[in-house]
């Protein structure tokens, strides 16, 4: 019988992640962010990490664990993201100072290109052409090709060592369901990674309890799962009113 994919703690699930790993962090705004796994990685202390993420967070006062905290803890060598500056020019994010001082390399990637580079990695496709970013600073000096009279930019697949996900439901095989916009980067980061670690919101289901037609990410992509305990031990996003934060 195969070894169980269910781990008893977040610490145990991330214990052997080596220095220098490339890790993809799912999530868009709060939904689908693996807060508990990020906190465990902060405690675990792996260094020289390359972090693949939509954004690094940290603009708001009421912070949940984010990539910006890994940056501040000195664990990050490189960030690949669709935002390496704040969304609003008036905001400040922790990453900025480290990039300005040359301590961290930041690769800025359009969000759709980020998603497709992950998807390509998970699909065994080494590279693709996209119309996105043609004619911009990001395309300077890079390979383009004309198809049907339109210019496209060559982009390479982005395989990752580890993916951190947050799912709504899972069975013990690792078949995953996401709820609403929680899905975002989760399924494509799972497919792009060779080690997929998932924090799961609901109690684990028995095999067969998730209808095969409804599975979002098949269990063959998932290696480790941890059930998120109730707050305050486990991290759960709160409603705005409960956070007492500005919108």
């Amino acid at each position: 019988m195969a070894r169980s994919k269910i781990f008893g703690s977040f610490a145990a699930a991330v214990a052997d992640i080596p220095d220098g790993s490339t890790i993809a962090f799912a999530g868009f705004a709060y939904p689908g962010v693996p807060f508990n796994l990020i906190r465990a990685l902060l405690d675990q202390g792996a260094k020289g990490l390359t972090c693949i993420t939509n954004g690094t967070g940290g603009a708001g006062a009421d912070r949940m664990p984010d990539i910006g905290m890994l940056v501040e803890a000195g664990q990050v060598a490189k960030v690949v993201a669709a935002f390496t500056a704040p969304t609003r020019a008036s905001d400040r994010i922790p990453l900025t100072r480290y990039v300005d001082e040359g301590k961290i390399e930041a690769e800025l990637v359009p969000q759709g290109t980020l998603a497709e580079r992950l998807r390509a990695a998970g699909a065994g496709i080494p590279a693709f052409y996209t119309p996105t970013a043609v004619g911009t600073e990001l395309a300077a000096g890079r390979e383009t090709r004309v198809f049907g009279g339109r210019e496209y930019l060559l982009e390479h697949a982005m395989p990752v060592d580890v993916a951190f996900l947050r799912a709504w439901k899972a069975d013990s095989f690792g078949n995953l369901l996401f709820r609403r916009s929680q899905r975002n980067f989760n399924p494509i980061m799972a497919m792009a990674a060779r080690l997929v670690i998932v924090e799961v919101e609901e109690d684990f289901l028995q095999p067969g309890e998730i209808d095969p037609d409804e599975v979002h990410t098949p269990g063959i992509f998932v290696q480790r799962m941890v059930k998120i305990p109730p707050a305050p031990e486990g991290l759960w996003p709160a409603r705005r009113a409960e956070r007492g934060a500005k919108a």
């Binding site: 497709e116 043609v134 004619g135």
Partner: protein, 222 residues
């Protein structure tokens, strides 16, 4: 500068929303563009969000938010009947394959050659692109919204962008507090003017030639 400051932010968004046609799939950028969804229009619009939500509705009041559901601006929206959710790669497949009828983007600068800039400010090392480059390159229509001048009064409608561009030659409509403009290559066509604003005022506040039609219309505010 004499004359009115023109439209308030919601009024600019209202005028843009009136350009949406029945059945359009619309993607609204963060900031002023999200205000387009507040406009009471009688066209059937499907709102698409970069995080894979197709068919979202109004923002839910405090206490009623679904914490699993946000739009691209991080707002806790609702779902309309018939909504669907896809993952991020499929969401951008929808964008890249040209299925978005219009994207409305908040920007820093627009040029009369159809270029615009909205991802990097002067002197910054980093930038915030999000989905803007994908949307700008691939949506059927690209509408942009901005205040006509910077806080210190410098023009933001220019002959050529000074800031790094997001996409080249893709803008079809520019909406500001002073008016509604169409880039025509070497000049902007003033399609409509905001109430109380003068053409001279617009010319003085713009870094590119302005063509004024003989039958210049005034923007009807809601």
């Amino acid at each position: 500068m004499s004359g009115s400051n023109g439209l308030a932010r919601q009024q600019i968004a209202d005028r843009v929303a009136q350009e949406f046609q029945d059945g359009w799939i619309v993607n609204l950028g963060v900031g002023m563009p999200t205000m387009c969804s507040n406009t009471p229009i009688d066209t059937d619009i499907i709102y698409h969000s970069e995080n894979g939500v197709i068919g979202y509705g109004p923002v839910l009041p405090a206490g009623q938010e679904d914490l699993h559901l946000v739009n691209a601006g991080g707002q806790n929206v609702s779902l309309k009947p018939g909504a669907a959710v896809v993952h991020h790669a499929d969401s951008f497949a929808i964008i890249r394959s040209g299925r978005i009828d219009v994207t409305v983007l908040g920007i820093y600068e627009a040029a009369c050659n159809g270029d615009f800039a909205n991802w990097k400010v002067a002197g910054a090392k980093g930038g915030g692109i999000g989905g803007a480059m994908d949307l700008a390159a691939c949506a059927k229509n690209v509408f942009v919204i901005l205040e006509h001048t910077t806080r210190d009064g410098k023009p933001r409608l220019l002959k050529e962008c000074a800031l790094p561009v997001t996409a080249r030659g893709r803008v079809s409509l520019v909406a500001t507090n002073l008016g509604l403009f169409k880039p025509l290559g070497d000049r902007f066509l003033l399609r409509e003017i905001a109430p109380g604003v003068t053409v001279d005022q617009i010319r003085a506040a713009t870094g590119a030639p302005i063509e004024v039609p003989a039958d210049l219309k005034t923007i009807q505010t809601l």
